[in-house]
């Protein structure tokens, strides 16, 4: 069959359509991945059945240990199809332990990068304070690993990365997104609820993506790579970040440049996302990788 006759979009291998486990596997060198504390180990949420909600055998967090581009790496992926990828006691423990063990190995001479696949609304409300504590612990563990090896966040959609886990994304060495993905602290529905429809009409999809979408986040310089929804392309982007190692500085440590940008914003009206994108690109601060997008 002459594959040149098949349009590119049909040939594309969708990453978004994959389960979290399949996404994680697709990023690792073939045959190198082993799942840790997987579904057969049956460590589930003790809190969900108490509320009549079916738990998941892996609590919605899949951890694979293996190599990426030949380099030791661990991937922790949140399953967006289970409780919107929300962070609970067990899923949070799996993610922070994976990061801590990567840090331990790195300290002992085996530099181990971490890749976090974040499709998540943040805290699992049914576990409230344990979910919130778990996020704080993941953030601490990410910050610790960052002394030795890169922590790479991938948010591809359809859930996106919201709530407390958006702070985890913000702490990352690199953020990879697709156009379909969204990244923000508060989802549009939450803003509409807390501050009114005037503030944010959550039914205005164009507005949602104009503010939180992957193209905007990468365009304004708060995320690093914009990929097509394609397994090959995303895997290549992840590998590139693993091989690049630690950036010269991390975005969440560039306090003065961002503080000044916020101070100089005109906030008497809503901010035009495209205008902001242009303004922030103009005075782009290098994160050590160079280039602009």
């Amino acid at each position: 069959m002459n594959t040149n006759l098949i349009p590119a979009f049909v040939r594309r291998n969708s990453f978004i359509e994959l389960s979290a486990r399949a996404r994680a596997e697709s990023l690792m060198d073939p045959g190198s991945a082993r799942e840790l504390v997987g579904p057969f180990d049956r460590i589930e949420s003790p809190w969900l059945p108490m509320q009549g909600i079916a738990p998941e055998f892996d609590d919605g967090c899949i951890v694979l240990k293996g190599t990426i581009g030949g380099e030791p790496a661990v991937v922790a992926a949140l399953e967006g199809g289970f409780q919107a990828g929300s962070m609970g006691e067990v899923s949070g423990a799996k993610m922070s332990t994976a990061l801590d063990l990567a840090t331990r190995d790195s300290k002992n001479g085996t530099k181990t990068a971490a890749v976090l696949l974040l499709e998540t609304g943040g805290v699992r409300l049914q576990e409230a304070n344990l979910g919130l504590a778990a996020i704080a612990e993941v953030m601490a563990s990410m910050r610790a690993l960052r002394e030795y090896a890169p922590v790479i966040t991938v948010t591809a959609g359809t859930v996106g990365c919201f709530g407390g886990m958006s702070l985890a994304a913000g702490l990352s060495s690199y953020i990879i997104m697709t156009r379909e993905a969204r990244l923000g602290l508060n989802g549009p529905e939450v803003i509409e609820q807390e501050s009114g429809t005037e503030e944010f009409d959550s039914s205005d999809r164009a507005l949602v993506w104009a503010i939180n979408g992957g193209e905007q986040r990468v365009g304004m310089g708060v995320a690093d790579e914009l990929c097509l929804d394609d397994v090959g392309e995303i895997a290549a982007a992840v590998k590139k970040c693993v091989m690049a190692g630690l950036p010269a500085t991390h975005r969440s440590q560039q306090v003065e440049p961002y503080r000044k940008r916020i101070a100089s914003l005109n906030v008497t009206e809503q901010i035009d996302p495209l205008v902001l994108r242009e303004a922030w690109n103009h005075e782009r601060y290098s994160s050590g990788k160079g280039g602009s997008r």
Binding site: G38, P39, E56
Partner: protein, 98 residues
Amino acid sequence: MEQLEFDYPEANRRVSKRAHVGVAGSGDMELLMEPAEAGVAHVSILTSVNGFEKSWKAVIDRFFAHFDGAVRIEINDGGATPGSVMLRLEQAVEAIDQ
């Protein structure tokens, strides 16, 4: 929330592999299929939707009508349709019979 248990003593063919399929999302289900220690098939279901024991039994009976593996099946169910349930069971069989 209900916990349902079913036994199939006729299903006693030794199997050696295990499978995991599905996601326990809303309207979906997840299952583990492993060799049964007891040598006969046993099914455990934890479901968030009450009152459908008969439907579950019907689907699982139908499944074991053409499958004789001595498997332990555990299901976390968030409200899957009988059609989805059968699909997941068949996906699991494909994985273990490979």
